[in-house]
Amino acid sequence: MTTTTQFKVLEQNHPRVDAYEKVTGRATYASDVYLPGMLACKLLPSTRNHARIVSIDTSAAAALPGVRCVITGTDFPDIRFGSGALRDRYVMPREVVNFVGEPVAAVAADDEATAQEAIDLIKVEYEDIPSVVNPLAAMGEGAASVHPDLESYEGYGFTLGHNVSTLLDADRGDVEQAFRDADVVVEDVYRSQGINQGFLEPMACVADVEPSGRLVIYASTQGPYQIRAGLAAVLEIPVSRIRVVPMELGGGFGAKLRLAFEAFPALLAMRTGRPVKLVNTREEVFTMNGPRLPVTNYIRSGVMNDGTIVAREAYTIFDVGAYLGAGPNSGIGHGIGAYRIPNFRLRSYGVYTNKIYVGSYRASGVADMTFAVESHMDHIAHQIGMDAYDLRLHNALREGDVSVSGAVVPSNGLIETLEAIKEKIDWPRQLEDGHGLGLALCEWRSGSGPSTAAISVNDDGTVSLLTGSTDISGSDTSLAAIAAEALGIPMGSVVVAKRDTDMAPYTGQSGGSRVVYSQGTAVQRAAEETVQKLIALAAERLGVPEDALGCEDGRVYVMDNEPQGLTFAQLAAASITSRGGPIIGTASLSSMPYTPVFAAQAAEVKVDRGTGQVKVLRYIQAQDVGVAINPMAVEGQLDGGVVQGIGRALTEDQQFDPDTGAVRNPSFASYLMPLAIDLPESEVVLIKVPAEDGPFGARAVAEPPGFGPPAAIANAVYDAVGVRVKQLPLSGERVLAALNGDYDDIPFDVEALRLAEGII
């Protein structure tokens, strides 16, 4: 399944354009910015999860030698903002704190040690308010209200139930009738854990004020324009008075999409007139910046004896913590998985609790949904006595089917990914005791959103590429490859410009599998416009019609007389004195058509019957990438994504205190991400069914690899030892308990939710 298109640049490995900087330590991250006269900023975290701030005494801190400024919530304008759809928070709380760790004061001092000493001198008097930590309890009428004034917040929509920030629904067909008609009904409840994004570079930024009064922010961010907009809102200054310089990004995975702590050093810089740097400690990363929070999933299917799934009902409860960050959209967007299910009722709740607010992470919530849906698929298969692979193949979405959102499914490689996995892992196969195989099918779509690009031709025939996107996982290199391919020049002839929000045109965030697909399309179109302009100029200079000209290898030539032509360098030189002026191609777009991405994955595991521990012996993934822009980078994305998924399956577990909601394991020594020792060799199959849209047929790549491991590994554990664990992670303790038969199902009162909506 390879494409027949002959590429000159794409489908070949290219080292990253920033590789030299990164292997020599020269790449500059936000924490590497040192400016003359720079002050250090430290933050004071709330020690309460729901309390009124009676008073904050900063006098001792302010009096400490070396301290230049202390700020609290009331130093900011009285403006609510939102990390997500709802304006439900202040950048720093004014009257009420809602989670342990929420920053309530900030200090700027001559050095970090002094700033921290000043923080330790600030006295806050709190008055506790009743709080709630468990989202299922929070939905009950008697529970404490996290946001008593919720209905007055800007962005609030229709919801049902107490403490519910968001209720999303999706319905199709006659669900009740379909369940009555079904031969078998299978019902499960799954729970997935809190997850930290685990980026290695702690959040960091430096704020500076130019002599003109403009604010400059050197940030570690996936969304420089989003930081600019957020800062403008909370500081009440015009967007044009802010310049955001995205520095090298040391991992984000969704955690650095939005305004985080930049407003604190920004206000301190404005107050002191000096540059102010804030670098979070690892503990602050864990306790202040939104992780993913636990998800509880009720899922029920009506199935015919031949394996056809005719009905699906799913109720998903997303804990959103103190503030709505990433919404619970995946609860409805991914409730039926990669399957054609004609009748469904999907409900997704975002529920407030007094713990750290929910953040984004690599397709927020889809991995949770995939764990539930794909574990449930295996459960269905066992209930009706059908092979788990055959059940998936039988129900898989095909071209022309209607997706959950109502879009028609275009051509894709879903079936090919399944077939590739079956062959590679040799499914089905009898293994020795304690060993097992498991499958998971993952679905996603290529990301859309505002995208812009500009390409200018330099007078040596090279081009400069300018986009507003922060580099994420090698996207700069992929964008350069797309430009090179479209222009017919080598990779080395594309200079990727460093940029900031003054320089580059507006663009959406770098996240959601968006950059290469959407931004890449903008680059491709900008390159095509550049070629058009080069051809037009060549036509003028050579005195031939434009349609008589071809463009290849950095040269525009007369098609029936190839030696006659002009190189890009010659054209660039000529352009300077031409009527049209220097050559620049631009493109701008906002939305892209629905382009699905499918991946099939398989795990082979060994379960230790003594300790319950699970070891992954093999992990195989096949993903339809459309076209591999830079195969080395594509495979790198798949390798890394799966490892994050394996961590989610086995060892990663962000735990919260059941009474205070405080993060219990705020360190890399207690939040356990996989190490090289823990992993099998990566096995990746690239399926290439070109997308109908997207640059040269490429599909998004980054998100699906991480979806499958929890379900594939849980399914393999079932195959190995016959127990189905429905909670993540699949720790030794949990698996051993299941082996001993003392495994509790997760309580879930679906009747109450149906009744609240009037469904009997």
Binding site: D18, T28, S31, Y34, E248, G250, M632, L679
Partner: protein, 158 residues
């Protein structure tokens, strides 16, 4: 109060003024202006701050700066010279053993120290050798490929 400290860093003797409670990592970054070594956790859990002390990889966040005098310290900035990258650095570039790059100085220093004593490692040896380095982007596969390739190249040119 800051006190004078003479350190041998990347073959140069540097006289610095350093707080007594500073770690070697803080000293390298704040006082010696060598920001290639990264602070990922400041708890010895991530390995991004790895440097070589007398040839051995250590987490520089757990070394008292003032205790490091008399040792030869090599940081990521000390590997490449005017003739180009070190074999390990080159292999990371060629094998795509990096993404966001924040963990990479530490991984390259761990690998460099390891290969000096273990020129012909197995893949399992490499996995153990970088067991103290967290990477969230790459899944380690291409990192391991790069280290194995660097080892082969160093053997061939030895």
């Amino acid at each position: 109060m800051k006190q004078p400290l003479t350190l041998n860093i990347n073959g140069e003797s540097r006289l610095l003024l350093v707080e007594p409670f500073y770690s070697l990592l803080d000293c390298l970054r704040d006082d010696a202006s060598l920001t290639g070594s990264k602070k990922g956790c400041d708890e010895g859990d991530c390995g991004a701050c790895t440097v070589l002390m007398d040839g051995k990889p250590v987490t520089s966040c757990l070394v008292l700066a003032h205790s490091a005098h008399g040792s030869e310290i090599t940081t990521i900035e000390g590997l490449a010279d005017v003739d180009g990258l070190s074999p390990v650095q080159r292999a990371f570039v060629e094998h795509g053993g990096l993404q966001c790059g924040f963990c990479i100085p530490g991984l390259i220093m761990s690998a460099t120290g390891f290969l000096q004593d273990n020129p012909d490692p197995t893949e399992e040896d490499v996995r153990f050798a970088i067991g103290g380095n967290l990477c969230r982007c790459t899944g380690y596969s291409r990192v391991i490929d790069a280290i194995m390739a660097a080892a082969a190249e160093m053997r061939a040119s030895a």
